[in-house]
Each structure stands twice: as C-alpha cells, then as structure tokens.
Amino acid sequence: MGKTIKLISGDGEMFEVEEAVAFQSNIIKSLADEDNADDCIPLPRVDSQILSKVLEFCRKHANSPSVHTKFAAIPSELCPKHDGSAAGASSSESSSAHSETCRACYDAVMKLVQWDLEFVKVDLDLIHHLLKAANYLDIEDLMFMAVEGAANAIRGNNPEEIRKLFDLENDFTPEEEKEILKEYSWLDDPFEP
C-alpha cells in the first residue's frame, strides 16, 4: 500500500485507505493537504455504513479517469428505459479525452459504467444517503451515479408509484391542482406560428 489516509466516521469507526481512494473526495484531498494534517480526518456527518459504501465506490474509481462528468451521455444510453439523445452525443468536450479514441480504454470505461449502474440499484434510502455524502465530500462521480440511481427510480412510474418509492406525501390541495392545470389550458389550441 502506498501512503494511506485515516478517516473517522460519525459513529467513531476508523477506515484506513490509500490516498488515491480517499482523494476521490475533493474535501478529503484539501483537508489532507493542510500542513497540520496528522492524516486522521474526522467525518462527523457520515456514518460508518455509508462511508464504507462510499469507499467501495472510490476504490473502484481510484485509477480511472473521471468517467461521468466527461461522458454525460453514456449512462442514459445504457439505461433500458431511456433513449440517449441523438444529437450532440459526441460533444466536443469529450472528444479530447483519450478513452474516447483508444478502444481498450473505451471498453474499460464502459465496464466501469456498468458496475456503477449496478452499484446504485439499491433502495432509495441508501441513494439519499449516498447523495448527501457525495455532496458533503464532493465526490463528482458518486454524485453523478447517485443522481442516476434516483432518476432510475422515477423513470416510467406514475406519481402515485413515485410517492411510494420516495416516501412523499401528496401535498397539493384540489384547488392548487386546478390552478396548475388552468395554466395549460392553451394546449387544447396550441399556437401554430
């Protein structure tokens, strides 16, 4: 193992991981860079169950290029319920990334994306925690995949089903619903320029 970083979860458990793994988090990276670092970083807002899931993700991504912020189109194309956008799929910003052009790298990236999609096929409680942790620790790829996991739970479902999955209440009053629908009555006679 190379240089390691010690992390302390909110409930007091210690995790020792390689720098490359921990530094997926921009927050941990900047905390570790400070001069007074005794390489033991407390993370009071992340408990051990979530932190261990986060580190599992980081371990997998430790030696890969940041896939999701550069390949925004790819996860949607793989999702069976969603058509990837046809236009602009190979945008100029991704063309310069090596993995777009090198077949071996491209395949490795696709494999990683598949792993990520499986990783977020979990219940929404866990996704909620992962989202908060990814936000708190500033881990771009985890944020991207947690958002994808939440979006997946919405796709193809009607509002009642979505409410059940996300444990939400329908807080519309009938009057409020009527007001919203009134705004769209023009759809019956759409403007044809």
Binding site: G88, S95, H129, I154
Partner: protein, 322 residues
C-alpha cells in the same frame, strides 16, 4: 425509552403527520424494546434524516435533468409541490429529445398527457413542442425532432425563434420539398450551432452547408446520410474546414468524394463512414486518415449485396437502402 423517542422528536421540531405515525410505530413496536437508548436514538435520527421532501431544489433539478421528457411532463410535476416547483426550472428542459415518443393521436403517451393535463383532445406534437419550449424559457441547447411523423416547417420555424442558443440539432426526416428548401434560412438563426444531424440529406444541402459555414463559427459536428456527390463533398471541404466530427454512414459515397472531404477538412478528429456503398478503405485512404483519431469504415464496400457494381442510372436516383 418511549420518552427518549419523544424528546428527540421535539428537539427536531418536526410536525407533519408522517412523523407522528412513525412515532407511534417506534413506541409500540415490541421488536425494539430490547435496544439500548443510544441505538434507538440513532435509528430515530436515521429516520428523520431520510426524507426526500427535504431534498434541496438544486439536487432535485440535478435528478430531473436526467429524465426523459415524458417523465418530466407527466409524472414528476404531480408528485408533490416541491417537485412541481423544481420541475419548472428551465435547466430541466434544456435537452429536448422527442425521438422516443409516439405522437400518433391515440398513443399511450398522447392520451396520458391529455389525461394528466385535463385536455379535451389527445396531445399533438406541436402542442408538446410548445409546452416544452415554454418550460425551457429559451435555454434549449439540444433539440432532437422525431422521425417519420408529421413535423411541419412551422415547428422548425417556431423552434428557431424559441431556441436562439441551440447547440445541437437533429432534423426530422420527411419534410416536404418546399419545407426542405427553407432549412438554410432557419439554420441561419442558430448562430451557436455546434452539431447538426440530418437523417436524410435534404435538397437544400449545399445551401445549408454554406449557411453553416457563414453563420455558425462554433460548428464542429455533422451527420448526414444520402448520396454524397462531388458538389456535396466540395461544399463540405470549402465551407466547413474546421469540422471535427463527420458521420456519413449508410451513404452512397465514392473514394473520390471521400478524398475531397479529407483533403479539405483537415481538423477532423472522428470520421465515420460505416456501411457505405461505392468505396472501400484501401491503403491510400488509410494512409490519409492516419492523422484522424478515429476512422470507422466497417461495412463499407464497393459492391452492393448482389455483387454487382451500381450503374450510372442508379447513381442518379440518390436512393440507397440497406
């Protein structure tokens, strides 16, 4: 233990009905009676912490941006008020892909939309386009029109007005000839255009390419399918020398035309000419494309499926079916 649960709740100040129901579950559940007070407190705090309705608008918008338009229009706004408000954010509506929808009058989607919005007739493509562009408030950067359905030139014209900052466009494929001729004039309005996709090559192709060359300084990617003749190749080379991505798959394209394009578009990073007819990648071509990062030519052959070379009369029709 029961008192501990109540104290924790009070200190959090939560009032809604869901929490009260949960309180009662905790207090009365026999399976929890063996837990220590600390563990119980941890469970309660976990419960308080997991509410999606507390999710900040930014995060919700992030999630909604990943959704297809159908989910965004018909399901998400009707879940609860915070979701409705977040769904109105224009950034959820900046990538409009209409290609996966069935807009025939009695399709499940048209009917579901009409039901949800209490319309008196099924939804038309025009209406849904207007709805989406209204929500986008001018920030659309990707627009993909549906194929093989009745998209009129009015829809295109409307989009050219409502999406001034469009970056990527995929045109519909069965415009009538007189509408097809208006494409160059519309393209002129999209000065930020970077990518254009044409499922079939329009009659106004030469004029369209010229307009892009004149008016779209950031243009980098083109996809078109059809008969790529000498004039077409010369137009690409002359008008789009900064082109980075070109896809001509499933086209009718000879080696001469390909060489004209490669010779003029010196900044190409990707060139995709798969399943084309009338050229095969020989050594000369492969040498010339060696500076292009990605060159894909699988399936392209000189001959048609029956092993005959296409004769001149077939060349004139411009049809190419695979």
């Amino acid at each position: 233990m029961a008192r501990l649960v109540c104290n924790v709740r009070e200190s959090e100040g939560r009032e809604n009905n869901t929490d009260r129901r949960r309180d009662m579950v905790f207090v009365s559940s026999p399976s929890l009676s063996h837990l220590s007070s600390n563990m119980l407190k941890a469970i309660v705090e976990e419960e308080l912490d997991r509410h999606w309705d507390e999710m900040q608008a930014d995060c919700l918008i992030n999630i909604f941006r990943r959704l297809a338009l159908g989910d965004l229009a018909v399901a998400v706004p009707f879940v609860c008020k915070s979701w409705y408000r977040a769904s109105l954010d224009p950034s959820c509506w900046c990538r409009l892909n209409f290609r996966s929808f069935d807009f025939t009058p009695w399709s499940p989607f048209s009917c579901a939309f009409a039901l949800r919005y209490h319309l008196h007739s099924p939804l038309s493509f025009s209406a849904f386009l207007c709805f989406s562009l209204h929500r986008s408030r001018g920030v659309v950067d990707q627009l993909t029109f549906p194929l093989s359905s009745a998209v009129s030139i009015h829809n295109l014209a409307y989009a050219s007005v409502k999406c001034p900052r469009l970056k990527a466009l995929a045109l519909p494929d069965n415009l009538m000839l007189e509408d097809d001729l208006r494409i160059p004039e519309l393209v002129r309005r999209w000065k930020d255009l970077e990518h254009l996709e044409m499922e079939t090559k329009p009659s106004s192709f030469l004029e369209a390419v010229a307009e892009i060359g004149h008016n779209c300084p950031r243009f980098v990617g083109l996809k078109v399918r059809g008969l790529i003749g000498r004039e077409d190749a010369k137009a690409l080379a002359r008008c789009l020398p900064e082109l980075k991505h070109l896809e001509l798959s499933k086209s009718y394209l000879t080696k001469d035309e390909l060489l004209v394009v490669i010779g003029g578009c010196r900044k190409l990073e990707t060139l995709t000419v798969k399943d084309c007819l009338r050229f095969q990648a020989d050594d000369e071509i492969l040498k010339l494309v060696s500076c292009i990062e990605r060159f894909e030519h699988e399936g392209s052959t000189l001959l048609d499926d029956y092993g005959y070379e296409i004769d001149e009369s077939e060349q004139q029709t411009g049809f190419f079916h695979r």
